[in-house]
Symmetry: C2
Subunit: 375 residues, 2 copies
């Protein structure tokens, strides 16, 4: 069991990090803390003593205990610890296109003399909160972060605003929390979904399914592009061809949804656009078991142009993600923001929206109307 005094320490630290206790604010009295945590005065004193000696709080004779102003820590820390630190936070680390993005950033940051720490949130707010706390408590000069669960309103916005108060610049990659209007490096995902769909329509497909993850803003935007392409090119959109899923169901919903569509006798889709290449590969396994061939039985368009797309048995047509270039641009931006030492506003101009392009490979085919009718 956690010692009681540690629980008190953790609670006070976390309030400071979330900005709920501000610099020079007086904290609750010993008696209040005793009541709140149901502990002895000795335990409270132990907790406060450590927080003071660790620099989180300071005491003023006869007045009480106050929260330290940590905004000036750059000065004293640079003497103690001359290392320059950057945190890179992504939803996932070891998988898929994330290594390329991180590598792109890391190479440049190392060259510039920065030490890089890597974190991942697993696309969960709780973990994002813990990581932001760690970063705020630690000794970081800047953060490159991929938003977690970006399609919903983020409960951790206060941590980002606290980063700004503490003068720790951050840039966002792949998506952004709109309320913050951060410096960001992302693809034009509406355009990306549009390109995926338009390509298939131009190949003669009329019944095109889409499978998008919609707890991230990327998926929402790609879905918007998919709908838009149907409208612009005057193709009647069949609502049942839209399959959406959340991160926690990524292993079940897409396959179940596609299976159902393929069981239809009528208007069965002849092509599918996917949230990313990883999803296409997962579906390929299923199609193989069912004896269906790509692209003869079903065309597929992926997204991200990942390594997977070029090494899979059928090379994937996919939307090109800037990957390591995006990582590099984000790294350059964060260094420039650290050096300029201004707010977000004066830096907003360095944001980039990458124009997507389609890499055409073997997973899409011109629709042969005779073939499509054979059931």
């Amino acid at each position: 069991m956690e010692a009681k005094y540690k629980k008190i320490k953790r609670s006070i630290k976390s309030k400071i990090l979330e900005g709920l206790i501000m610099p020079h604010e007086k904290i609750s009295s010993e008696s209040e803390l005793m009541r709140q945590f149901n502990v002895s005065r000795h335990t409270v004193r132990l907790a406060l003593g450590e927080l003071v000696s660790e620099g989180w709080l300071y005491r003023e004779q006869g007045a009480g205990t106050f929260c330290t102003d940590r905004t000036n820590r750059d000065q004293y820390q640079s003497q103690e610890n001359p290392t320059k630190n950057i945190a890179i936070v992504t939803t996932y680390i070891s998988e898929y296109i994330f290594p390329s993005i991180i590598r792109g950033a890391e190479a440049h940051l190392s060259k510039e003399g920065y030490h890089v720490s890597i974190f991942n949130t697993n696309n969960k707010y709780d973990q994002e909160k813990q990581i932001l706390s760690k970063i705020l408590a630690g000794n970081y000069d800047g953060i490159i972060i991929e938003p977690t669960n970006s399609a919903s309103s983020n409960p951790n916005l206060r941590y980002y605003l606290n980063l700004e108060r503490e003068n720790i610049p951050y840039v966002m990659i792949n998506a952004s929390y709109e309320e913050l209007e951060p410096v960001s490096f992302m693809m034009d995902d509406v355009k990306g979904g549009y390109l995926q769909t338009k390509h298939l329509i131009e190949l003669g497909h009329q019944h095109i399914a889409c499978i998008y993850k919609t707890d991230d803003a990327q998926g929402q935007k790609r879905l918007k592009g998919y709908i838009k392409a149907h409208r612009d090119l005057d193709i009647l959109l069949n609502p049942k061809n839209i399959i959406t899923y959340q991160t926690e169901n990524e292993l079940s919903t897409p396959i179940a949804g596609l299976k159902k569509l393929l069981n239809n006798k009528l208007d069965r889709p002849t092509a599918v656009v996917c949230y990313n290449d990883q999803l296409v590969l997962r579906l390929m396994d299923y199609l193989r078991e069912e004896g269906l061939k790509i692209p003869e039985d079903l065309s597929f368009v992926g997204y991200d142009d990942s390594l997977l797309s070029a090494i899979s048995e059928v090379k994937l047509t996919s939307v090109i993600h800037p990957k390591s270039r995006l990582g590099l641009d984000a790294a350059k931006a964060i260094i420039s923001m650290i050096k300029k030492n201004d707010g977000i506003r004066s830096n907003r101009g360095i944001s980039k929206l990458y124009e997507p392009e389609l890499q055409i490979r073997q997973s899409t085919i011109r629709l042969n109307k005779n073939l499509a009718k054979v059931e």
Copy 2:
């Protein structure tokens, strides 16, 4: 208990309405339905018989039972039933500014010979789904709808796309589901939140709390404006001054959050911007109990310039919502779309984004620095 054959009918109808069974698609065989619902052949035949006689399904000798193509129903229905029907769907009906919006729309629609049906979703997806099913099953020429829970990805998008397939135009008011790029009538809510905050900063306030509902896009955008105003006017934003809440906690979270802020000794807010006037009035009750006065102890800016803002004991400074004008514009738009009988794309130009203005009344006051220091 619901009769078994009714359950089968309901299930098939709901699939048709969601677009999961398409026009001219063959439905499951009698034996499949017997297995699926665990009922006798007699029960299945009873259900299918009624669905055929009600026009949902049709039979083809020797081939099976199929889904009726309802897109042409305008023709036969206009003979049977010459009434012109419009549905207005809002998150709430009887409360607050909704009556004005609805009245604005209703007056014009009646004049043009339309019958208006009013629905409300209580800001719940489930209820929205049921209402959209009813509308799709019914005899409506068009819909004016306020999106439910608009800050998240909507699970009912298929119903909207099915409306388009069935050639039933819809316009959205107050917010929009971005993926659909609908014709919409809404305020510039980023600007609105900006105006609320800027007004207070110009009155000398530096510690301004905000209390916004963030399950609706309106609240998210207002929060963005609040943050932006701080940055543009170079006021340090204190993260703990941001209070956000969801519809289900609207009675508890705002008061609890404000209470906590007012207990602070340091950097206690001198002003509050609120999601809407209704919220300000709820908080007024609490402040009265605590013996705090508006605006002397705390300035407040509301939103919507509702009737409440002018009749409350302290008249509220508030952002003007176009209310009945917005209703009227939406009504004109839906009629024009019904007459033109085109898709959304060709109509998108009729959307309106209303520029917010501030109505200054008595709930805000220039900050008297001496007063503010007295605690």
